[in-house]
Symmetry: C2
Subunit: 422 residues, 2 copies
């Protein structure tokens, strides 16, 4: 057992609060949260928090982890040209080894930013899961079915395979996006949702052109189209949700769908700002994602959390839009909900030990008027002192414990991009 003591604990249930409890971790789960006790077990390690903050890890609810290979390669292009000129041609050259290496690189960036799980849609899933399992990182794969896939039935085989592969891995149904997936394949995905009573996810209403194209093709917005196909019969939701009509928002609220916002990527690709404050006020369930490093270009949850609230203040013209506590809830609890990781969403006995320690003794966390506000408005990766996934420490005091040396990962990554240039 590992004991964390002498610090503060941020908990979400029954409401956002800070306690001075200690936390014991036994294997992959939290065993005890409460005051110091005299009947202590023999701990394998005791970590003095020295007044620092222990809280649930951030859940990156939309990612393409191995896209780290394109960071700073394809800047300054709008989404359509970025996809067709840079992303797809380069992705076609990806190998299992490259996806393994760049997934490891992404995981390092995640844990250095306090992220303990990602909801990933990408290619070479065997290499991706191998990297996650070796690193000890939790991942939920989302099917990215689209018109380029040679074998449609692979989706169902993947669903069964990855949902029984390893305790750190699960798989959710989905398609890449309406604009990359024909009607027959969208209906196939909806059929799987029906067969397995499973939620379905997709890139959704990311750009104005996407929504206009869908209306031209089908006379409906992407949320309306997919809903009528039965895609959302058992829940699920959309990544991005930038261009949502009032009807789309009402549909999301009524069906209990998740809107996963990716503000950094939407800025960088000039896609727009998702109406998070309107979604929030309509009661839509919200989570946050970084998207891939090719379009962000950082995988930094402090930056995403700040952007979620700061951009709402801008577009609503209201400095009180989207308060800090709500953003923290989206980042920790919301993300876990969207990903089906309900055991990973809080610091409480029986929950999975997916947690982080935030260094409060840095200038950006001082003085202490409000810890939640400090975290969201001023927090930075420098404040992540420790990241634990499933009871295992993957990052502590700047060092990585992801199954291999960072230098090997950097060297392999740079060797691959030298090949790309040939």
């Amino acid at each position: 057992m590992i004991r964390f003591y002498n610090g503060r604990v941020l908990r979400f249930q029954p409401e956002l609060r800070l306690t001075e409890d200690e936390v014991w971790v036994d294997g992959g789960r939290i065993a005890y949260v409460g005051p110091a006790r005299t009947d202590r077990p023999a701990f394998e390690r005791q970590i003095d928090l020295k007044g620092d903050l222990l809280m649930p890890g951030f859940k990156n609810a939309h990612s393409h982890t191995a896209m780290t290979f394109l960071r700073s390669k394809a800047d300054n292009l709008p989404l359509d040209r970025w996809l067709s000129e840079q992303v797809w041609p380069n992705e076609a050259r990806l190998t299992d080894e490259a996806v393994y290496t760049f997934t490891k690189l992404g995981i390092m960036e995640y844990v250095s930013s306090g992220i303990t799980a990602c909801f990933d849609m990408y290619v070479h899933n065997d290499a991706f899961t191998a990297a996650c399992i070796e690193a000890g990182f939790r991942a939920v794969i989302c099917s990215g079915l689209n018109n380029f896939d040679r074998d449609v039935e692979q989706t169902e085989r993947d669903y069964l395979k990855y949902n029984s592969l390893h305790e750190l891995i699960s798989f959710r149904l989905g398609i890449h996006a309406e604009y990359t997936t024909c009607m027959e394949r969208m209906e196939y995905a909806a059929g799987l949702a029906e067969k397995y009573h499973a939620p379905c996810f997709t890139h959704l209403s990311e750009t104005k052109a996407e929504v206009e194209g869908c209306i031209a093709r089908y006379g409906k917005t992407p949320p309306q189209l997919l809903d009528e196909l039965g895609f959302f019969r058992y829940g699920g939701g959309g990544y991005h949700c930038v261009h949502m009509s009032g009807e789309d928002i009402a549909l999301f609220a009524e069906k209990g769908l998740w809107a996963v916002t990716c503000p950094g990527s939407n800025l960088k690709l000039a896609s727009g700002v998702a109406p998070i404050e309107k979604l929030r006020k309509a009661g839509v369930k919200l989570a946050i994602g970084t998207d891939g490093a090719a379009s962000n270009n950082a995988l930094d949850f402090f930056r995403e959390m700040y952007l979620v609230t700061a951009l709402q203040k801008l577009v609503e013209g209201d400095a009180s839009a989207c308060p800090a506590g709500e953003v923290l809830r989206m980042a920790c609890v919301g993300g876990a909900g969207a990903m089906g990781l309900d055991d990973c969403d809080d610091i409480a006995p029986g929950k999975k030990a997916d947690l982080i320690v935030i260094d409060l003794c840095r200038p950006n966390m001082q003085p202490v008027h409000s810890i939640p506000d400090n975290l969201v408005y001023a927090g930075s990766k420098e404040n992540v002192r420790l990241t634990m996934v499933n009871g295992k420490i993957l990052y502590e005091n700047g060092e990585f414990f992801v199954g291999e040396e960072p230098e090997r990962i950097y060297a392999a990554g740079n060797a691959f991009i030298r090949e790309l240039k040939k």
Copy 2:
């Protein structure tokens, strides 16, 4: 002498470039930049860069450093209520000791973010300069003359006093803003500009309401009004510059005035997005500031640099707006120009040794397609390995060397805010 070797150097003259030179620092200045030499002096310290990047420090061209005392105290309010309900009443209770402490706190945050100088407008300037000098930090004070000042003539006395106080300190003329300063005092400031042939700065066109108010009062926008008063006769510029008309932009370009953008603060207070891309294309000189920690709430130049470009992509609807190299130039060279620190703007022999070392061996800086793009789009405070001001190391590997222990600064700061609550 201190020798930096075995790394890369980012230089701006004659154009943005990366070299593999070594850099020698002698006292407060850079003594040599070039290939390794056999005729070496006896170095007091040799720093192996291990492939990392040495570059000019960032210049924070608009700040209210000691406003760290209000971080996360006054969130969720628009600018007018934020000033009248939170900032001014609390500032009235500031003491010399508090300004000293919270300036030190701000300096710590600056150096941990790679900032080597600030252009500060605030109160209790003796306490501010004492903290800067003790820490070894470079600061340019801007006069914040306004209607609350009891003694107008203090501005001229301050100009003479702080411009001869210490090599790390200088002083520029200015007013707080048109909306807080009566015509008589604006004319007084313009008179001093004429007398000393000196540039003048002010908060300018920060909110729509400010511009509308100025037009209602004087029939002119703030830039036009001040220009006609002779305020800009010897240069200077404006902080924020969010709501600029086409004529305002042309005026700034024609007169060679500096527009200092503060994107984080403008978002948080829902003030808007400055037209940086339009200013840039019109040839206006640009610099970047964090504003104070009460309105940002971080003093993080990586966040500001990212916002400068990402928000332009959004408002221009153009993913190619404001490329990374231009943002780096604003952050390093532009800021130095606005502040009159022309000796602090590059890595070259004879320049002041105001420089930083960026750790490239972190996951967010990998792989290496483009170092400037990695810095601007993915950089973070975790990458700041060392910050040197005037030849003295103030920050290295997470540790601060600012004249006293961080713990004393945090404790004094929190003691003061407990008093504020009484």
